[in-house]
Amino acid sequence: MKAFLTRRKSLLAAASAAIALTLSACGGGGTGTGSNPTPVEKPSFAAGTTMEKIASAGKVTIGTKFDQPLFGQKGLDGKPVGFDVEIGKLLAAKLGVPADKIEWVETVSANREQFIKQGKVDLIVATYTINDKRKTEVDFAGPYYEAGQALMVNKDNTSITKPEDVKGKNVCSVTGSTPASTIVEKYGAVLVPAATYSACLEPLRNKQVEAVTTDNVILAGFVNKEPDAFKLASDETFTKEPYGIGLKKGDTEFRNWINDQLESFSKDGSYKKAWEDTAGAVIKTAPELPAIDRY
């Protein structure tokens, strides 16, 4: 009986140790639940603006990704954590909405424009690259971060250091994503399409693909979890992916307001802190806020 009890205890200890280990390794900055910025008391906005509507409702709906390490990833408690989520919380706080009044909606790459158009979300912070095609459908505040496409390879791989090296080789990416199109059309890789980026890890580990490609920050998240297995082929990126905050087309007041807030976050240090609390755990050099694109 006693032996049984001690064995149970050691099992439990092992369990909690494993959980603690994983949480500290990849819980988006260690806290697991993220920060909780103090909301502004009774902010005042001009009547009729989106800001005023959200502030008086006292709640906001924000779209983000649930499967993007470091930026927006669903934790064990069901709430997303990451840099995108922090930016969303900071903006909500400026609208007088506390973090627990934010409704997080999972948006995937395929349905972001439509979610904004149909008003299912007030804004989207979801590693959302600003480009001209998307600008015809939605408006973007920001950029608040500039990523770029990169390649991830096995640690022992020395033959791939630049995108030109993957010509004719198997490269894994997500079916129907922009990085997938780029690596095939520009660099002649053979696409091995997966459902999610994390689904690319097993084929890479088993050497069935030579590389995985997407935005460098996403790959950095994978490398961080398994530094002994994977590495970035190079620190250079071969595209520019400025991440913006998506909102309804034509809502210029809201866009300008968000742009102002982003600049203020940069000045008062909350931008830097949001980074350090999340993606900063992996990508040490904190970014400067890119020049806001006030189009």
Partner: protein
């Protein structure tokens, strides 16, 4: 609408890949499924048991799980391949063969008892009874449900698009991303190419069914 014509080469390539996946998996599944059905009615208890267990488990396994096994678990067991089509073919034929086995078995059951008895009375062994007397007769009733299983196979091959294989569905997703303003037409195009395989097959099943019904 223009987007369909513009992307015709991609559609065509995807169509051929889907057709290839379905054809190869279909042939393997037909052979394996018939063998499984034979095992199911054989005198050897272990064969019966194996066939029963296999069919029962596979029929109740979601296809995505089957794909995950073939594409992710198998490489860990040392079965590695550079062409993920192999994983897709393994998953699709393993999955489909269970359904084929069930169809063949019910076909065997539909052959009048007297046929087998007559065959045995003239001294035929189990293998001969099955391959010369029962299966040829069973085939008639089995063909329509079998074609329906093959139609399902064609449609099921679309799951490969999410498991490392580029085929019609995968091209559809890619084209939908490239042409965000014409998503509907892109997908209508994909649907058209699937129907190009499934509707004629369905028509064939219908015709065979009618013919068999009259012949009885």
């Amino acid at each position: 609408m223009d987007v369909i014509i513009e992307s015709l080469p991609q559609y065509w390539d995807g169509f051929l890949r889907t057709l290839f996946l379905a054809a190869v998996s279909g042939i393997i599944a037909l052979v394996a499924g018939t063998l499984l059905a034979a095992a199911r009615v054989s005198p050897v208890a272990a064969l019966r048991g194996f066939s029963m267990a296999y069919v029962e488990v596979v029929r109740n396994t979601p296809l995505t799980i089957a794909f995950f096994f073939a594409a992710v678990v198998l490489p860990r067991l040392g079965v590695t391949f550079q062409q993920f089509e192999i994983a897709a073919i393994i998953a699709l034929s393993a999955y489909t063969s269970a359904f084929i086995a069930e169809a063949v078995r019910s076909g065997v059951n539909s052959v009048p008892v007297g046929q087998a008895e007559a065959a045995r009375s003239i001294g035929m062994k189990f293998g001969q009874v099955l391959s010369l007397i029962i299966l040829p007769q069973a085939l008639r009733t089995v063909i329509p449900p079998m074609i329906n299983i093959l139609i399902a196979l064609v449609k099921n091959s679309s799951v490969a698009g999410a498991f490392y294989v580029l085929e019609l569905f995968g091209y559809g997703k890619q084209l939908a991303n490239d042409h965000g303003d014409a998503v509907m037409w892109v997908l209508v195009g994909v649907a058209f190419f699937y129907l190009l395989i499934t509707v004629p097959l369905g028509y064939l099943a219908h015709q065979v069914e009618r013919k068999v019904a009259i012949a009885r």
